[in-house]
């Protein structure tokens, strides 16, 4: 009994000490929560002091991790090679795909800035068949009547006129290019306003014909569609004048017809017939009274050029 009482007496100061330590711990929590500058300074200084020691302890631990990492790498080397090969193949495919897309993007940009008359809507299509011989300068494009493409619709790129639709099925259409021998495009010269006809020759040049006798086309003068016949809208760039021998003039198309991949077809809005096209009037100006020698009425291309 006496021994037990003695043990209890001896344990009392120890319990008191434990209680003090626990209370000290809670006090520290409050002090820490107060976020005092002194506490933070002590913490910073302390961790900075022991950081080198920590680094020493951490070095072998890191080394072990590195070793395991190395072993894992060696173990999975074969698997890694197979994976890398497959990845390489996939990347090569993606590279090819990206090259294709880049080229397609470049081609699409050529039709992005095409001049679209107010009374037309542009339908972009891909050229799927280019002229295979010099006997026929036509090309097949995607889209047809399902996209409201009809015969006579002009086909353009950002540079200018490519041709016009001669046949349209439901999903495909055929374009008669400017350079085809059957192509006849009513034009006018942009600065002198002389009217004429651009006739295809199945070559890279068009013949500039039916010019009035007094007309003197300038070298490199821009040639635009006149809108006569109301098949093609007026003001579409066709080409530039090149002087031939004597009174022969040629037109170099502004569009490089060999590189056409994407085109815009200027279709009529839904419900609008051919007769309702009114763009012709926008470019028509009567000739001055003093200058009435021309056989055909002149056109002002001032609006187009602006």
């Amino acid at each position: 009994m006496a021994g037990r009482t003695g043990r209890m007496r001896a344990a009392q100061p120890r319990r008191f000490l434990h209680l003090i330590i626990i209370l000290l711990g809670f006090a520290l929590i409050f002090v820490g929560k107060a976020d005092m500058l002194a506490v933070r300074t002590v913490q910073t200084g302390f961790s900075a002091l022991f950081a080198p020691l920590f680094n020493v302890v951490a070095t072998p631990v890191r080394a072990v991790e590195t070793m395991f990492e190395g072993m894992r790498t060696v173990a999975s080397l074969r698997e890694e090679t197979v994976r890398l090969r497959a990845e390489n193949e996939r990347l090569k495919r993606w590279q090819r795909r990206s090259e294709i897309l880049e080229s397609e993007n470049r081609q699409l940009r050529t039709v992005l800035g095409a001049v679209i008359p107010a009374d037309r809507q542009a339908v972009t299509a891909r050229a799927i068949a280019a002229p295979g011989s010099s006997f026929s300068h036509t090309m097949m494009i995607t889209h047809g009547t399902d996209k409201r493409i009809h015969r006579g619709d002009p086909v353009v790129t950002a540079d200018g006129l490519v041709g016009y639709i001669i046949e349209a099925s439901k999903r495909h259409s055929w374009v008669l290019m400017l350079s085809d021998v059957n192509s006849r495009i009513p034009i006018l010269l942009s600065t002198s306003s002389w009217p004429g006809l651009a006739i295809g020759q199945n070559s890279d040049m068009l013949s500039l014909s039916f010019l009035p006798l007094e007309a003197v086309p300038k070298e490199n003068e821009l040639v635009l569609t006149s809108g006569h016949g109301e098949i093609l809208p007026p003001g579409l760039p066709v080409g530039r004048v090149i002087k031939g021998v004597g009174r022969e003039y040629y037109i170099q198309p502004v569009v490089d017809l060999r590189k056409v991949s994407f085109v815009s077809i200027l279709v009529r809005p839904e419900g609008q017939g051919v007769t309702e096209i009114g763009g012709f009037a926008d470019f028509f100006t009567p000739l001055p009274e003093t200058d009435n020698k021309r056989l055909l009425e002149g056109f002002s291309t001032k609006d187009v050029l602006q």
């Binding site: 330590i21 711990g25 809670f26 929590i29 409050f30 920590f54 302890v57 631990v61």
Partner: protein, 183 residues
């Protein structure tokens, strides 16, 4: 009455051993931090110090004082910018609970010790979570805490074997040293 300098040296004093064990605890704090650098232990490193405090208070309660436990906890807080006092208090409570249960557990088999340790880990984490909630009125990522608790419980057998081996080696070295002194 002889002066302290004239008295014979106290060769069997437990204080050097206690200091060494406390320093080992501090080393474990650093090791715990180092292990956290492993990807597998990221934000869920095993609580080595807790296992050490549990083991020491279970089998060698006289060798690791409560003050030493408190200081180890404080060292961990200062070293890794944890909330001041939280870890230290939690470790002290763990040490006291272990000491209270040690008369029963010391004669138990390993599975019972493991179960007791699991409860201790849960208590330790819960206590810290409560303190954290009171201090910040929010809870940390519960999933990370559960992962750490699970990891600590799962790895306890390995750590237990290592500690038993270290303790046996230490006891063997001390006994050899004492024997040579007696001779």
């Amino acid at each position: 009455m002889t002066s302290p300098l004239e008295r014979p040296a106290e060769l069997s004093s437990p204080i050097p051993i206690q200091i060494l064990l406390a320093l080992f605890g501090c080393f474990l704090v650093l090791a715990e931090g180092a292990f956290a650098q492993w990807k597998v232990f990221f934000v869920a490193g095993p609580l080595l110090v807790l296992a050490y405090v549990f083991y020491m208070n279970l089998f060698f309660s006289n060798q690791l004082s409560i003050i030493a436990v408190f200081l180890i906890g404080l060292f961990s807080e200062l070293m890794f910018f944890e909330m001041l006092g939280m870890n230290a208090t939690a470790l002290v409570l763990v040490a006291l609970i272990t000491r209270w249960r040690s008369p029963v557990l010391i004669h138990s088999d390993f599975l019972e010790i493991w179960s007791a340790f699991s409860l201790i880990v849960l208590f330790f984490s819960s206590f810290k979570m409560v303190i954290y909630f009171i201090a910040y009125l929010s809870l940390p990522a519960i999933s990370d805490i559960f992962l750490q608790v699970g990891m600590t419980i799962l790895l306890f057998p390995i750590f237990y074997v290592l500690l038993v081996s270290a303790a046996s080696a230490g006891q063997f070295i001390l006994r050899t040293k004492m024997d040579s002194r007696i001779r």
